[in-house]
């Protein structure tokens, strides 16, 4: 990548203390995104995708970043004061939430919530903010934006609210946009439209997007690069075509194989449950469910190794001191 990355996450470790012990939610995650690029962050529920995003935004509730660095446009943002961090949120790093219906305040109008966001970050009068809001709502394709401003969240559908969230992010024009499962709560027809909006965001505003999803097809449509997470570890990272053509990590391969397709007759789920993130041992986290284990897995800490251009894998099979074994997965 010849252009400097907008967001660089290096070796991020996030721990959450609980009465039962410390949950190691994020273990050494590293990635970079350039402007106008989309990184798809993929994994099961509980694998640490959302916590990674919250860590970047500094919105962890009980959790704490215990190690690592996060750099926005070259500047370290992990050690900023709360007020400085607040100024970055929304303006430099935007977020779109998973559940649009519950992300808005139910007793305050959409317009008020939009306008106050604009006025928090830009010095404009109330009337100017209102005009801007109408303009952006129009841009995301919402009908009758003027009327929309006076409505309450319960009066809009999930898809419309999601588009309002996108409109709010456009209004602030952040360098990075984190989209946390933006289509999970919506049905398939609306899904397409939202993905289209995000694509426009990428092209028109050159925003770097982190697209979090457990749905590979969503990621395939939009992402330039895909990072696969498991148990808080980043286990594979590659450009999107590469990862779909040539998945290397056993987990990635299992994910690909479990997708429903017209050719296969039966679904092939990944058996077993993800391990609890408490007290992870020094074995590979995917050991229990992996179909390709060997004895070496029992003493392996996930470490990303670059195999081919920009294709990183964290599996003992591709260890730096081992032979590379590639084989197809039917």
């Amino acid at each position: 990548m010849s252009i400097a990355p907008v967001l660089a996450v290096e070796n991020l470790h996030t721990h959450i203390p609980t009465p039962e012990g410390i949950i190691r939610a994020v273990n050494g995650v590293s990635f970079q995104i350039g402007p106008g690029r989309v990184l798809g962050l993929v994994g099961e529920s509980g694998c640490g995708k959302s916590i990674t995003c919250l860590s970047i935004l500094g919105l962890l509730n009980a959790g704490r970043v215990v190690n690592g660095r996060i750099r926005l446009k070259g500047k370290d943002i992990l050690n900023l004061s709360p007020e400085e961090m607040r100024k970055i949120r929304g303006k430099e790093i935007g977020m779109i939430m998973q559940n649009p219906m519950s992300s808005f305040n139910p007793v305050i109008t959409i317009g008020q919530q939009f306008i106050e966001t604009i006025r928090t970050h830009r010095r404009v009068s109330a009337r100017e903010a209102r005009e801007l809001a109408i303009e952006y709502l129009h841009q995301v394709g919402l009908p009758y934006p003027k009327d929309l401003l006076g409505q309450f969240p319960f009066q809009l559908s999930g898809g419309m609210l999601q588009r309002v969230m996108i409109a709010i992010s456009i209004a602030l024009n952040p360098a990075v946009l984190i989209a946390d499962e933006p289509t999970t709560a919506l049905d398939v027809t609306v899904q397409n439209r939202i993905l289209g909006q995000l694509a426009r965001l990428k092209e028109k505003y050159n925003a770097a997007i982190i697209l979090v999803s457990h749905d590979l097809s969503v990621v395939a449509q939009l992402a330039d690069e895909v990072a696969v997470m498991y148990s808080g570890y980043l286990v594979e990272k590659a450009p999107v075509m590469e990862i779909f053509d040539n998945p290397l990590h056993p987990y990635t391969r299992a994910l690909m194989a479990s997708r429903p397709s017209l050719k296969k007759k039966r679904l092939r789920p990944i058996r077993g449950q993800p391990p609890t993130l408490l007290n992870l041992d020094d074995i590979c986290p995917f050991f229990e469910r992996c179909g390709e284990v060997s004895r070496a897995c029992l003493d392996y800490t996930v470490e990303l190794v670059e195999l081919s251009r920009n294709h990183f894998v964290g599996c003992v099979k591709y260890g730096s001191n081992q032979e590379v074994v590639l084989y197809d997965y039917a």
């Binding site: 203390p17 609980t18 009465p19 009980a62």
Partner: protein, 283 residues
């Protein structure tokens, strides 16, 4: 941070044990009153009137020369037994009505709920006041009034609980197996709501004791010379300037008793989580 949580849980458990012990202690005191009390609570002896705490009278005497400690001890009997009776009756009535209303639904439900709406239009204590007013001041009438007023609250809550349990899968399964209505209620619905009712009952004991002593304080409950905490406070009113202890001790006792019941009820509520109750049933 979670160490704080842990400490708090243990502390709460300790509080629960302390309050349970206090209540047990009070019950025992009430039962053994004739044995424990140093004097006859109704023994009037004007020679000893308004004495300060001394060896003979550990908490002093009131304006008629009666031993305050003995009166407090005997008062335990009255307060706890009447409160218990009121609560039992209230729960019995509201259980029947609430369960019928919730389970049968339809016209029966509508009728009972309308009645509850109307009774709830009266502020709680005022209706009790009026009932006592009509029937005449006496302890029994206070008890009747309280039962008549309290059952409405309970019936509503129980009805709500029954409604939610009614929709559970295991109840539907029982109905599919043609289990008779009353059997379903007894074997499936009641066990699931019993724990919540126990919590409510414990919390309510405090409220009942406050109300009974309140009405007695106004002179509408126990009649003299029966020793009762609220009535003792009323007696002590006239001597507030000279002998404030007459009103301090009975009030303190009421506070401790009500506090214990409230603490116990809170602890029970935390412990008997309804989710656990339902899971227990499914075993």
């Amino acid at each position: 941070m979670f160490i704080q949580n842990l400490r708090r849980n243990l502390f709460q458990r300790k509080l629960a044990i302390i309050s349970a012990t206090t209540i047990m202690f009070l019950i025992v005191t009430g039962i053994l009153a004739p044995v424990i009390a140093p004097h006859d609570p109704n023994l009037v002896n004007l020679e000893h009137k308004l004495r300060a705490p001394c060896k003979d009278f550990p908490l002093g005497t009131d304006h008629l020369g009666r031993c305050i400690l003995s009166r407090l001890i005997y008062g335990t009997r009255i307060s706890l037994s009447t409160a218990f009776m009121v609560m039992t009756l209230t729960i019995a009535i509201s259980l029947v009505i609430g369960t019928c209303s919730g389970y049968l639904g339809g016209m029966v439900d509508n009728l009972f709920m309308r009645i509850c709406d109307i009774l709830l239009a009266f502020p709680n204590l005022i209706l009790a006041l009026a009932i006592v007013g009509m029937l005449g001041p006496s302890l029994v009438n206070v008890m009747i009034a309280m039962v008549a007023v309290q059952w409405v609250w309970y019936a509503r809550i129980i009805r709500g609980m029954v409604l939610s349990v009614k929709e559970s899968n295991f109840v539907l399964a029982a109905r599919v197996c043609c289990t008779s209505g009353p059997l379903i209620v007894v074997r499936h619905i009641l066990p699931n709501i019993i724990s919540q009712i126990i919590v409510l009952a414990t919390l309510d004991m405090g409220w009942i004791i406050l109300n009974i002593s309140g009405l007695s304080f106004l002179g509408l409950g126990v009649q003299p010379p029966t020793p009762e905490w609220g009535a003792m406070l009323n007696d002590g009113r006239q001597f507030i300037r000279s002998n404030p202890s007459l009103m301090i001790y009975p009030g303190l006792v009421i506070l401790v008793v009500v506090l214990s019941f409230n603490l116990l009820g809170d602890a029970l509520r935390d412990a008997l989580d309804p989710k656990d109750a339902i899971r227990g049933e499914l075993k």
